[in-house]
Amino acid sequence: LLDISFLSDLKRMNKRQVFYQFLSFGMIVSSALMIWKGLIVATGSESPVVVVLSGSMEPGFYRGDLLFLTNDLEDPIRAGDIAVFRIKGRDIPIVHRVLQVHERDDGYVKFLTKGDNNAIDDRGLYAPGQLWLEKGDVIGRAKGFVPYIGMVTIVMNDYPKFKYAVLGLLGIFVLLNREA
């Protein structure tokens, strides 16, 4: 089995070349990571790209749409803004519209949200006893979107084995591909 011709390339590599194969793999992963962290810093949002997971914002956003967020803390939150937020204690981000805003002179803001396609406001979704959201709960506000592309992420998360298989195959391909 070890005499398959494509493996002969790999057998002739010295220590340095083997190390470089791993480094190339590391460079690809690092580039993706640095672009992501760069986006986080540039937009000010801890998750600058999110996927719409439910149909609660139809017909504006559908399940599977990709949203681009920015989180400008200086820009005041106004009713009508589409905010992406996380309820304390839960991971899943929710994309809904701001319905009511209350502002105090000292800068404290609290607001209520509701999905366009939902019959009732989000108080049922908030943590027990919580009636309002605050600035700290907001991950960002939607500035742009690309339709459908997020379905790939949804499928990969529904079938994690598929995700690991794809990532694994990509990794193996990069590691075993000796460049000239």
Partner: protein, 188 residues
Amino acid sequence: MSQENAPIKIDKWDGNALKNALDDAAKKIMNESYGLVESFKLIDGRLALCSMAVSCSLFALLWDFLYPFPASKTVLIICVACYFILTGVISVYLLYFEGGVFYVGLEKDKAGIDPDDKWTLQSSLKKYDDQYCLKITYTGGVSKQTRSVERVCSVTEFFDEEGTLCYDLYEATVKGLKDSLSADKKAK
């Protein structure tokens, strides 16, 4: 288990494999037939730069994990900037300093006094092409002068139908090239 001297067999339609096989064989010829000592400085430079870039990103990952954004903002900006600057440096390094060089061999001075003479091998093989260009450059240790010779051959001259490298034929070509440079050296 295949041994050091087993013939190299590759997929003859794979351009990458062709170039790698020819390069590896050339390295072997230079090391074994002429007793040159391989110098890894160029490769080590590249490895060091890439390692620095990867460490930069790993550091950013770790820092952001320990002190979640937005506390890590400054460190992240620095790491991202450093990473992309290093990537640019690596590209420049690969293009200008390495530029297709796959072997640097040092010819030790027999008396052990003078600095080593340097033999550099560069090669190129375009995608989907069969024209393999091998360039040998000699840099005198004392004189610091460079002389080089290059030869373009079709890969079909060295590989048979099954994709096995005809080592003897290739050895003759490489030795011929190198000896022509040495002869030049003596003539001057």
